[in-house]
Protein backbone atom coordinates (compact mmCIF):
# COMPACT_ATOMS: atom_id res chain seq x y z
CA UNK A 1 0.00 0.00 0.00
CA UNK A 2 2.68 2.43 1.05
CA UNK A 3 4.58 1.51 -2.07
CA UNK A 4 1.61 2.27 -4.29
CA UNK A 5 1.05 5.59 -2.56
CA UNK A 6 4.69 6.46 -3.14
CA UNK A 7 4.40 5.61 -6.83
CA UNK A 8 1.23 7.70 -7.19
CA UNK A 9 2.99 10.56 -5.39
CA UNK A 10 5.98 10.31 -7.71
CA UNK A 11 3.75 10.28 -10.80
CA UNK A 12 1.86 13.31 -9.52
CA UNK A 13 5.09 15.15 -8.88
CA UNK A 14 6.44 14.28 -12.32
CA UNK A 15 3.28 15.48 -14.07
CA UNK A 16 3.43 18.67 -12.02
CA UNK A 17 7.02 19.21 -13.00
CA UNK A 18 6.57 18.21 -16.64
CA UNK A 19 4.27 21.03 -17.70
CA UNK A 20 3.69 21.62 -21.44
CA UNK A 21 6.08 24.57 -21.68
CA UNK A 22 8.80 22.51 -20.03
CA UNK A 23 8.37 19.77 -22.64
CA UNK A 24 8.86 22.39 -25.36
CA UNK A 25 11.94 23.79 -23.61
CA UNK A 26 13.40 20.30 -23.21
CA UNK A 27 12.79 19.61 -26.92
CA UNK A 28 14.55 22.88 -27.84
CA UNK A 29 17.48 21.97 -25.57
CA UNK A 30 17.62 18.49 -27.14
CA UNK A 31 17.62 20.09 -30.56
CA UNK A 32 20.52 22.33 -29.57
CA UNK A 33 22.51 19.39 -28.19
CA UNK A 34 21.82 17.26 -31.29
CA UNK A 35 22.76 20.05 -33.67
CA UNK A 36 25.94 20.59 -31.65
CA UNK A 37 26.67 16.86 -31.89
CA UNK A 38 26.06 16.71 -35.66
CA UNK A 39 27.21 20.08 -36.99
CA UNK A 40 30.29 20.64 -34.83
CA UNK A 41 33.58 18.81 -35.19
CA UNK A 42 34.11 16.01 -32.72
CA UNK A 43 36.58 13.86 -34.70
CA UNK A 44 39.38 14.80 -32.28
CA UNK A 45 37.62 12.99 -29.43
CA UNK A 46 39.08 9.47 -29.93
CA UNK A 47 42.60 10.88 -30.03
CA UNK A 48 42.33 12.91 -26.80
CA UNK A 49 39.88 10.64 -25.00
CA UNK A 50 42.49 8.98 -22.79
CA UNK A 51 44.26 12.25 -21.98
CA UNK A 52 40.90 13.76 -20.99
CA UNK A 53 40.13 10.92 -18.61
CA UNK A 54 43.53 11.33 -16.96
CA UNK A 55 42.84 15.08 -16.72
CA UNK A 56 39.45 14.52 -15.08
CA UNK A 57 41.01 12.07 -12.65
CA UNK A 58 43.72 14.57 -11.76
CA UNK A 59 41.21 17.40 -11.23
CA UNK A 60 39.11 15.20 -8.94
CA UNK A 61 42.19 14.05 -7.07
CA UNK A 62 43.34 17.64 -6.49
CA UNK A 63 39.79 18.56 -5.38
CA UNK A 64 39.59 15.69 -2.88
CA UNK A 65 43.07 16.18 -1.41
CA UNK A 66 42.78 19.95 -1.04
CA UNK A 67 39.29 19.76 0.46
CA UNK A 68 40.29 17.17 3.06
CA UNK A 69 43.58 18.87 3.98
CA UNK A 70 41.94 22.30 3.92
CA UNK A 71 39.16 21.14 6.21
CA UNK A 72 41.66 19.62 8.65
CA UNK A 73 43.39 23.01 8.71
CA UNK A 74 40.08 24.89 8.99
CA UNK A 75 39.09 23.16 12.24
CA UNK A 76 41.95 24.61 14.32
CA UNK A 77 41.57 27.94 12.51
CA UNK A 78 37.90 28.13 13.41
CA UNK A 79 38.51 26.90 16.95
CA UNK A 80 41.25 29.48 17.53
CA UNK A 81 38.96 32.28 16.35
CA UNK A 82 35.94 31.04 18.29
CA UNK A 83 37.52 30.50 21.67
CA UNK A 84 41.27 31.02 21.65
CA UNK A 85 43.07 33.75 23.47
CA UNK A 86 44.17 36.82 21.54
CA UNK A 87 47.50 35.23 20.61
CA UNK A 88 45.73 32.33 18.89
CA UNK A 89 42.76 34.25 17.53
CA UNK A 90 44.66 37.16 15.95
CA UNK A 91 46.96 35.12 13.66
CA UNK A 92 44.05 32.92 12.58
CA UNK A 93 41.98 36.03 11.83
CA UNK A 94 44.83 37.59 9.86
CA UNK A 95 45.36 34.37 7.90
CA UNK A 96 41.66 34.15 6.95
CA UNK A 97 41.54 37.84 6.00
CA UNK A 98 44.63 37.63 3.81
CA UNK A 99 43.47 34.45 2.05
CA UNK A 100 39.96 35.82 1.49
CA UNK A 101 41.21 39.26 0.46
CA UNK A 102 43.55 38.25 -2.35
CA UNK A 103 42.81 36.37 -5.58
CA UNK A 104 43.66 32.69 -5.60
CA UNK A 105 45.50 33.21 -8.88
CA UNK A 106 47.93 35.64 -7.20
CA UNK A 107 48.42 33.25 -4.26
CA UNK A 108 49.13 30.44 -6.69
CA UNK A 109 51.61 32.47 -8.73
CA UNK A 110 53.27 33.84 -5.58
CA UNK A 111 53.87 30.29 -4.37
CA UNK A 112 54.87 28.75 -7.70
CA UNK A 113 56.81 31.52 -9.42
CA UNK A 114 57.81 33.48 -6.30
CA UNK A 115 58.82 30.78 -3.85
CA UNK A 116 59.80 28.48 -6.70
CA UNK A 117 62.33 31.03 -7.93
CA UNK A 118 63.73 31.62 -4.43
CA UNK A 119 64.30 27.96 -3.52
CA UNK A 120 67.10 27.09 -5.99
CA UNK A 121 69.30 29.81 -4.45
CA UNK A 122 69.73 27.80 -1.28
CA UNK A 123 71.99 24.75 -1.66
CA UNK A 124 70.59 23.03 1.45
CA UNK A 125 67.14 22.97 -0.15
CA UNK A 126 68.49 21.57 -3.37
CA UNK A 127 70.25 18.79 -1.48
CA UNK A 128 67.28 17.89 0.72
CA UNK A 129 64.80 15.08 0.04
CA UNK A 130 62.11 17.62 -0.76
CA UNK A 131 63.83 18.96 -3.86
CA UNK A 132 62.41 16.40 -6.36
CA UNK A 133 58.92 17.46 -5.23
CA UNK A 134 59.66 21.19 -5.09
CA UNK A 135 60.75 21.09 -8.73
CA UNK A 136 57.30 19.92 -9.83
CA UNK A 137 54.26 22.13 -10.14
CA UNK A 138 51.55 20.12 -8.40
CA UNK A 139 52.77 20.58 -4.77
CA UNK A 140 52.41 24.34 -5.19
CA UNK A 141 48.94 23.94 -6.67
CA UNK A 142 47.84 21.62 -3.87
CA UNK A 143 49.32 23.94 -1.24
CA UNK A 144 47.67 27.07 -2.65
CA UNK A 145 44.25 25.40 -3.02
CA UNK A 146 44.51 23.88 0.47
CA UNK A 147 45.33 27.22 2.08
CA UNK A 148 42.52 28.88 0.15
CA UNK A 149 39.96 26.27 1.24
CA UNK A 150 41.20 26.52 4.83
CA UNK A 151 40.88 30.31 4.78
CA UNK A 152 37.28 30.29 3.58
CA UNK A 153 36.17 27.27 5.57
CA UNK A 154 37.97 28.51 8.72
CA UNK A 155 35.62 31.46 8.78
CA UNK A 156 32.64 29.11 8.41
CA UNK A 157 33.93 26.82 11.16
CA UNK A 158 34.34 29.83 13.48
CA UNK A 159 30.63 30.52 13.18
CA UNK A 160 29.81 26.82 13.48
CA UNK A 161 31.85 26.38 16.68
CA UNK A 162 30.39 29.55 18.16
CA UNK A 163 26.88 28.41 17.23
CA UNK A 164 26.91 25.21 19.31
CA UNK A 165 24.76 25.94 22.39
CA UNK A 166 26.71 26.33 25.62
CA UNK A 167 24.35 23.93 27.42
CA UNK A 168 25.57 21.04 25.27
CA UNK A 169 29.16 21.62 26.34
CA UNK A 170 28.16 22.16 29.98
CA UNK A 171 26.20 18.90 29.93
CA UNK A 172 29.23 17.09 28.56
CA UNK A 173 31.39 18.53 31.33
CA UNK A 174 28.74 17.52 33.88
CA UNK A 175 28.99 13.95 32.57
CA UNK A 176 32.65 14.10 33.51
CA UNK A 177 34.00 14.14 29.94
CA UNK A 178 37.50 15.51 29.59
CA UNK A 179 38.00 18.60 27.42
CA UNK A 180 39.35 16.53 24.54
CA UNK A 181 36.47 14.07 24.74
CA UNK A 182 33.96 16.94 24.88
CA UNK A 183 35.52 18.39 21.79
CA UNK A 184 35.65 15.06 19.95
CA UNK A 185 32.18 13.76 20.86
CA UNK A 186 30.05 16.90 21.24
CA UNK A 187 31.56 20.11 19.97
CA UNK A 188 33.19 19.03 16.70
CA UNK A 189 30.31 16.82 15.42
CA UNK A 190 27.71 19.48 16.12
CA UNK A 191 29.86 22.18 14.53
CA UNK A 192 30.29 19.99 11.43
CA UNK A 193 26.51 19.41 11.22
CA UNK A 194 26.05 23.16 11.26
CA UNK A 195 28.77 23.74 8.68
CA UNK A 196 27.63 20.98 6.31
CA UNK A 197 25.23 23.05 4.15
CA UNK A 198 27.93 25.65 3.50
CA UNK A 199 30.46 22.84 2.99
CA UNK A 200 28.56 21.85 -0.16
CA UNK A 201 28.89 25.34 -1.57
CA UNK A 202 32.55 25.61 -0.59
CA UNK A 203 33.34 22.28 -2.24
CA UNK A 204 31.66 23.37 -5.47
CA UNK A 205 33.61 26.66 -5.30
CA UNK A 206 36.78 24.65 -4.77
CA UNK A 207 35.98 22.52 -7.84
CA UNK A 208 35.59 25.72 -9.81
CA UNK A 209 38.99 26.91 -8.57
CA UNK A 210 40.86 23.77 -9.67
CA UNK A 211 41.30 24.87 -13.33
CA UNK A 212 43.60 27.63 -12.07
CA UNK A 213 46.33 25.04 -11.51
CA UNK A 214 46.51 24.75 -15.31
CA UNK A 215 48.21 28.18 -15.28
CA UNK A 216 51.19 26.69 -13.44
CA UNK A 217 51.49 23.79 -15.91
CA UNK A 218 49.60 21.08 -14.02
CA UNK A 219 47.82 18.98 -16.66
CA UNK A 220 44.26 18.85 -15.34
CA UNK A 221 41.13 18.64 -17.50
CA UNK A 222 41.25 22.39 -18.22
CA UNK A 223 44.83 22.10 -19.49
CA UNK A 224 43.79 19.15 -21.68
CA UNK A 225 41.06 21.24 -23.30
CA UNK A 226 43.55 24.07 -23.86
CA UNK A 227 45.87 21.61 -25.56
CA UNK A 228 43.05 20.37 -27.80
CA UNK A 229 42.26 23.97 -28.71
CA UNK A 230 45.87 24.65 -29.60
CA UNK A 231 46.28 21.44 -31.60
CA UNK A 232 43.04 21.50 -33.57
CA UNK A 233 42.37 25.28 -33.80
CA UNK A 234 38.82 24.61 -32.59
CA UNK A 235 37.36 27.30 -30.31
CA UNK A 236 34.03 26.12 -29.05
CA UNK A 237 33.90 22.32 -29.04
CA UNK A 238 36.53 21.65 -26.33
CA UNK A 239 35.22 24.50 -24.18
CA UNK A 240 31.60 23.33 -24.43
CA UNK A 241 32.59 19.77 -23.55
CA UNK A 242 34.66 21.13 -20.65
CA UNK A 243 31.70 23.13 -19.34
CA UNK A 244 29.55 19.98 -19.59
CA UNK A 245 32.14 17.98 -17.64
CA UNK A 246 32.30 20.55 -14.85
CA UNK A 247 28.50 20.76 -14.69
CA UNK A 248 28.29 16.97 -14.39
CA UNK A 249 30.86 16.89 -11.58
CA UNK A 250 29.04 19.75 -9.80
CA UNK A 251 25.75 17.89 -10.11
CA UNK A 252 27.25 14.70 -8.68
CA UNK A 253 28.86 16.65 -5.80
CA UNK A 254 25.61 18.44 -4.90
CA UNK A 255 23.67 15.15 -5.05
CA UNK A 256 26.24 13.34 -2.88
CA UNK A 257 26.26 16.11 -0.28
CA UNK A 258 22.46 16.23 -0.17
CA UNK A 259 22.47 12.48 0.57
CA UNK A 260 24.98 13.02 3.39
CA UNK A 261 22.97 15.95 4.74
CA UNK A 262 19.81 13.82 4.74
CA UNK A 263 21.55 11.28 6.97
CA UNK A 264 22.50 13.64 9.79
CA UNK A 265 20.07 14.31 12.62
CA UNK A 266 18.35 17.55 11.76
CA UNK A 267 17.27 18.55 15.25
CA UNK A 268 20.37 20.18 16.64
CA UNK A 269 20.74 22.64 19.47
Amino acid sequence: MANEAAIINAVARTSLWLQPHRIVLILIALGLVLSAAFFMRWDWLPQYYEMGLIGIWRSLWILAVTCVLGFLLAVPLGLAQATGSFWFAAPAKVFCTVIRGTPLLIQLWLLYYGLGSLFPQYPWIRESWMWPYLRQAWPYGVLALTLSFAGYEGEVMRGAFAGVPKGQLEAARAFGMSRWKTFRRIWLPQAIYRALPTLTGETVLQLKSTPLVATISVIDIFAVSSKVRQDTYLTYEPLLLLALIYMTITGILVFAFSRIEARIPNKIG
Partner: protein
Protein backbone atom coordinates in the same frame (compact mmCIF):
# COMPACT_ATOMS: atom_id res chain seq x y z
CA UNK B 1 89.04 42.33 -10.74
CA UNK B 2 87.72 45.85 -9.93
CA UNK B 3 88.85 47.18 -6.55
CA UNK B 4 85.40 48.07 -5.25
CA UNK B 5 83.25 45.01 -5.73
CA UNK B 6 79.61 45.27 -4.52
CA UNK B 7 79.35 43.71 -1.09
CA UNK B 8 76.44 41.51 -2.07
CA UNK B 9 78.36 39.82 -4.88
CA UNK B 10 81.46 39.29 -2.75
CA UNK B 11 79.46 37.89 0.13
CA UNK B 12 77.57 35.45 -2.06
CA UNK B 13 80.82 33.61 -2.79
CA UNK B 14 81.04 32.54 0.84
CA UNK B 15 78.20 30.37 1.92
CA UNK B 16 77.87 31.51 5.54
CA UNK B 17 76.61 35.05 4.91
CA UNK B 18 74.64 34.11 1.83
CA UNK B 19 71.19 34.72 3.30
CA UNK B 20 72.18 38.07 4.83
CA UNK B 21 73.65 39.21 1.55
CA UNK B 22 70.58 38.16 -0.41
CA UNK B 23 68.30 39.90 2.04
CA UNK B 24 70.22 43.17 1.93
CA UNK B 25 70.60 43.00 -1.85
CA UNK B 26 66.90 42.34 -2.34
CA UNK B 27 65.96 45.04 0.19
CA UNK B 28 67.97 47.56 -1.79
CA UNK B 29 66.47 46.27 -5.04
CA UNK B 30 62.84 46.12 -3.95
CA UNK B 31 62.52 49.87 -3.57
CA UNK B 32 64.02 50.47 -7.01
CA UNK B 33 61.85 47.75 -8.57
CA UNK B 34 58.64 49.07 -7.05
CA UNK B 35 59.27 52.78 -7.55
CA UNK B 36 56.53 54.38 -9.65
CA UNK B 37 58.98 56.00 -12.09
CA UNK B 38 59.94 54.21 -15.32
CA UNK B 39 62.97 52.16 -14.23
CA UNK B 40 60.75 50.81 -11.45
CA UNK B 41 57.54 48.92 -12.18
CA UNK B 42 55.32 50.46 -9.48
CA UNK B 43 53.56 52.67 -12.03
CA UNK B 44 52.72 49.65 -14.19
CA UNK B 45 51.19 47.89 -11.22
CA UNK B 46 49.13 50.92 -10.26
CA UNK B 47 47.79 51.29 -13.82
CA UNK B 48 46.92 47.58 -13.70
CA UNK B 49 45.13 48.08 -10.38
CA UNK B 50 43.15 50.95 -11.91
CA UNK B 51 42.09 48.70 -14.81
CA UNK B 52 41.10 45.98 -12.34
CA UNK B 53 38.95 48.42 -10.35
CA UNK B 54 37.36 49.74 -13.56
CA UNK B 55 36.47 46.23 -14.72
CA UNK B 56 35.18 45.24 -11.27
CA UNK B 57 33.03 48.38 -10.99
CA UNK B 58 31.59 47.95 -14.46
CA UNK B 59 30.98 44.24 -13.96
CA UNK B 60 29.24 44.80 -10.63
CA UNK B 61 26.98 47.51 -12.10
CA UNK B 62 26.10 45.30 -15.08
CA UNK B 63 25.61 42.38 -12.70
CA UNK B 64 23.26 44.46 -10.56
CA UNK B 65 21.17 45.39 -13.62
CA UNK B 66 20.99 41.77 -14.78
CA UNK B 67 20.38 40.66 -11.20
CA UNK B 68 17.48 43.05 -10.62
CA UNK B 69 15.90 42.05 -13.91
CA UNK B 70 16.56 38.39 -13.24
CA UNK B 71 15.12 38.54 -9.74
CA UNK B 72 11.99 40.26 -11.06
CA UNK B 73 11.70 37.64 -13.79
CA UNK B 74 12.13 34.80 -11.32
CA UNK B 75 9.55 36.24 -8.91
CA UNK B 76 6.94 37.78 -11.20
CA UNK B 77 7.72 36.37 -14.67
CA UNK B 78 5.79 33.75 -16.58
CA UNK B 79 6.69 30.04 -16.40
CA UNK B 80 8.96 30.14 -19.46
CA UNK B 81 10.93 33.17 -18.22
CA UNK B 82 11.29 31.56 -14.82
CA UNK B 83 12.62 28.31 -16.25
CA UNK B 84 15.04 30.07 -18.57
CA UNK B 85 16.39 32.15 -15.68
CA UNK B 86 16.76 29.00 -13.59
CA UNK B 87 18.82 27.46 -16.39
CA UNK B 88 20.96 30.64 -16.61
CA UNK B 89 21.73 30.83 -12.88
CA UNK B 90 22.31 27.09 -12.56
CA UNK B 91 24.71 26.84 -15.48
CA UNK B 92 26.69 29.96 -14.59
CA UNK B 93 27.06 28.84 -10.98
CA UNK B 94 28.10 25.30 -11.92
CA UNK B 95 30.82 26.09 -14.47
CA UNK B 96 34.21 27.56 -13.44
CA UNK B 97 34.56 31.28 -14.07
CA UNK B 98 37.70 30.66 -16.11
CA UNK B 99 35.82 28.43 -18.59
CA UNK B 100 32.89 30.86 -18.75
CA UNK B 101 35.21 33.79 -19.40
CA UNK B 102 36.86 31.96 -22.30
CA UNK B 103 33.54 30.77 -23.76
CA UNK B 104 31.76 34.11 -23.44
CA UNK B 105 34.72 36.07 -24.72
CA UNK B 106 35.09 34.01 -27.91
CA UNK B 107 31.37 33.53 -28.43
CA UNK B 108 30.57 37.18 -27.70
CA UNK B 109 33.19 38.70 -30.01
CA UNK B 110 32.30 36.14 -32.70
CA UNK B 111 28.60 36.90 -32.52
CA UNK B 112 29.11 40.68 -32.60
CA UNK B 113 31.47 40.46 -35.56
CA UNK B 114 29.17 38.10 -37.47
CA UNK B 115 26.24 40.41 -36.84
CA UNK B 116 28.32 43.38 -38.03
CA UNK B 117 29.47 41.64 -41.23
CA UNK B 118 25.91 40.45 -41.88
CA UNK B 119 24.75 44.05 -41.66
CA UNK B 120 27.55 45.15 -43.95
CA UNK B 121 29.87 46.81 -41.45
CA UNK B 122 33.57 46.25 -40.89
CA UNK B 123 34.74 43.77 -38.26
CA UNK B 124 35.74 45.53 -35.03
CA UNK B 125 38.25 44.72 -32.32
CA UNK B 126 36.37 44.73 -29.06
CA UNK B 127 38.30 46.56 -26.37
CA UNK B 128 39.56 44.46 -23.49
CA UNK B 129 37.83 46.68 -20.97
CA UNK B 130 34.37 46.35 -22.55
CA UNK B 131 34.76 42.61 -23.09
CA UNK B 132 35.99 42.07 -19.55
CA UNK B 133 33.10 44.05 -18.09
CA UNK B 134 30.55 42.24 -20.25
CA UNK B 135 31.90 38.77 -19.45
CA UNK B 136 32.30 39.29 -15.70
CA UNK B 137 29.00 41.18 -15.56
CA UNK B 138 27.19 38.21 -17.11
CA UNK B 139 28.72 35.91 -14.47
CA UNK B 140 27.97 38.34 -11.63
CA UNK B 141 24.40 38.69 -12.88
CA UNK B 142 23.63 35.05 -12.08
CA UNK B 143 24.85 35.39 -8.51
CA UNK B 144 23.17 38.75 -7.89
CA UNK B 145 19.89 37.38 -9.28
CA UNK B 146 19.82 34.94 -6.40
CA UNK B 147 20.90 37.52 -3.82
CA UNK B 148 18.32 40.10 -4.91
CA UNK B 149 15.56 37.49 -5.24
CA UNK B 150 16.17 36.46 -1.64
CA UNK B 151 16.24 40.10 -0.52
CA UNK B 152 12.95 40.93 -2.26
CA UNK B 153 11.35 37.88 -0.65
CA UNK B 154 12.53 39.17 2.74
CA UNK B 155 10.56 42.43 2.38
CA UNK B 156 7.39 42.28 4.50
CA UNK B 157 4.64 41.51 1.96
CA UNK B 158 2.36 44.22 3.43
CA UNK B 159 4.70 47.00 2.24
CA UNK B 160 4.35 45.93 -1.39
CA UNK B 161 0.61 45.37 -1.03
CA UNK B 162 0.24 48.83 0.53
CA UNK B 163 2.13 50.39 -2.39
CA UNK B 164 -0.13 48.57 -4.86
CA UNK B 165 -3.18 49.73 -2.89
CA UNK B 166 -1.96 53.31 -3.31
CA UNK B 167 -2.07 52.68 -7.05
CA UNK B 168 1.66 52.87 -7.70
CA UNK B 169 2.77 51.74 -11.14
CA UNK B 170 5.27 48.82 -11.19
CA UNK B 171 8.16 51.19 -12.03
CA UNK B 172 7.35 53.54 -9.18
CA UNK B 173 6.86 50.57 -6.86
CA UNK B 174 10.30 49.28 -7.79
CA UNK B 175 11.98 52.66 -7.33
CA UNK B 176 10.25 53.82 -4.16
CA UNK B 177 9.50 50.62 -2.24
CA UNK B 178 11.13 47.43 -3.48
CA UNK B 179 14.67 48.65 -4.10
CA UNK B 180 15.10 50.70 -0.90
CA UNK B 181 13.33 48.12 1.26
CA UNK B 182 15.35 45.16 -0.03
CA UNK B 183 18.69 46.98 0.24
CA UNK B 184 19.47 46.12 3.88
CA UNK B 185 18.81 42.43 3.12
CA UNK B 186 20.79 42.48 -0.10
CA UNK B 187 23.85 44.50 0.97
CA UNK B 188 25.78 41.68 2.71
CA UNK B 189 25.37 39.37 -0.28
CA UNK B 190 26.11 42.11 -2.81
CA UNK B 191 29.18 43.21 -0.84
CA UNK B 192 30.42 39.65 -1.03
CA UNK B 193 29.83 39.73 -4.79
CA UNK B 194 31.81 42.96 -5.12
CA UNK B 195 34.75 41.34 -3.30
CA UNK B 196 34.44 38.31 -5.59
CA UNK B 197 34.36 40.63 -8.62
CA UNK B 198 37.58 42.38 -7.60
CA UNK B 199 39.27 39.00 -7.22
CA UNK B 200 37.76 37.55 -10.40
CA UNK B 201 39.32 40.34 -12.47
CA UNK B 202 42.60 38.47 -11.92
CA UNK B 203 41.18 35.60 -13.99
CA UNK B 204 40.98 37.90 -17.01
CA UNK B 205 44.80 37.83 -17.05
CA UNK B 206 44.56 34.26 -18.36
CA UNK B 207 42.64 35.51 -21.41
CA UNK B 208 45.12 38.37 -21.85
CA UNK B 209 43.21 41.42 -20.59
CA UNK B 210 45.53 44.05 -19.18
CA UNK B 211 44.89 44.33 -15.47
CA UNK B 212 46.81 43.99 -12.21
CA UNK B 213 47.58 40.26 -12.42
CA UNK B 214 48.85 40.49 -16.00
CA UNK B 215 50.83 43.68 -15.27
CA UNK B 216 52.42 41.90 -12.33
CA UNK B 217 53.25 38.90 -14.45
CA UNK B 218 54.91 41.08 -17.07
CA UNK B 219 56.91 43.03 -14.49
CA UNK B 220 57.98 39.81 -12.77
CA UNK B 221 58.90 38.16 -16.06
CA UNK B 222 61.09 41.05 -17.18
CA UNK B 223 62.88 41.66 -13.87
CA UNK B 224 62.87 38.01 -12.68
CA UNK B 225 61.86 39.32 -9.22
CA UNK B 226 58.85 37.02 -9.09
CA UNK B 227 58.39 36.94 -5.32
CA UNK B 228 58.60 40.72 -4.90
CA UNK B 229 56.05 41.51 -7.56
CA UNK B 230 53.47 38.84 -6.74
CA UNK B 231 53.76 39.82 -3.09
CA UNK B 232 53.24 43.48 -4.00
CA UNK B 233 50.21 42.59 -6.13
CA UNK B 234 48.79 40.56 -3.25
CA UNK B 235 49.20 43.56 -0.94
CA UNK B 236 47.42 45.80 -3.47
CA UNK B 237 44.48 43.37 -3.77
CA UNK B 238 44.34 43.04 0.01
CA UNK B 239 44.30 46.82 0.47
CA UNK B 240 41.50 47.05 -2.07
CA UNK B 241 39.51 44.42 -0.15
CA UNK B 242 40.07 46.06 3.23
CA UNK B 243 39.19 49.51 1.85
CA UNK B 244 36.04 48.02 0.28
CA UNK B 245 35.09 46.49 3.63
CA UNK B 246 35.34 49.93 5.21
CA UNK B 247 33.06 51.49 2.59
CA UNK B 248 30.65 48.55 2.72
CA UNK B 249 30.28 48.97 6.47
CA UNK B 250 29.27 52.60 5.93
CA UNK B 251 26.84 51.73 3.13
CA UNK B 252 25.26 48.98 5.20
CA UNK B 253 24.78 51.34 8.15
CA UNK B 254 23.22 53.88 5.77
CA UNK B 255 20.89 51.32 4.17
CA UNK B 256 19.70 50.19 7.60
CA UNK B 257 19.02 53.73 8.81
CA UNK B 258 15.87 53.91 10.88
CA UNK B 259 15.83 50.16 11.48
CA UNK B 260 16.60 48.61 14.88
CA UNK B 261 20.29 47.70 15.10
CA UNK B 262 21.25 44.05 14.72
CA UNK B 263 22.64 43.87 18.26
CA UNK B 264 19.39 45.06 19.83
CA UNK B 265 17.33 42.70 17.70
CA UNK B 266 19.05 39.68 19.21
Amino acid sequence: MPPTQPSAVRASTSGATLIDALLSASAAGIIELLSPNPPGWGGTLLVGLLHSIEIALGATCLGLLIGTGGAYGKLYGGPVVRDLLAVYTTIVRAVPELVLILLLYYAGTDLINQALTAMGYQRVDISGLAAGIAVLGFVQGAYSTEVIRGAILAIPQGQIEAARAYGMSPGLLLRRITLPAMLPFAIPGLANLWLIATKDTALLAVVGFYELALATRQAAGVTKAYFTFFFAAGVLYLLLSLFSNLIIGRVEAWSRRGMPSLKEAR
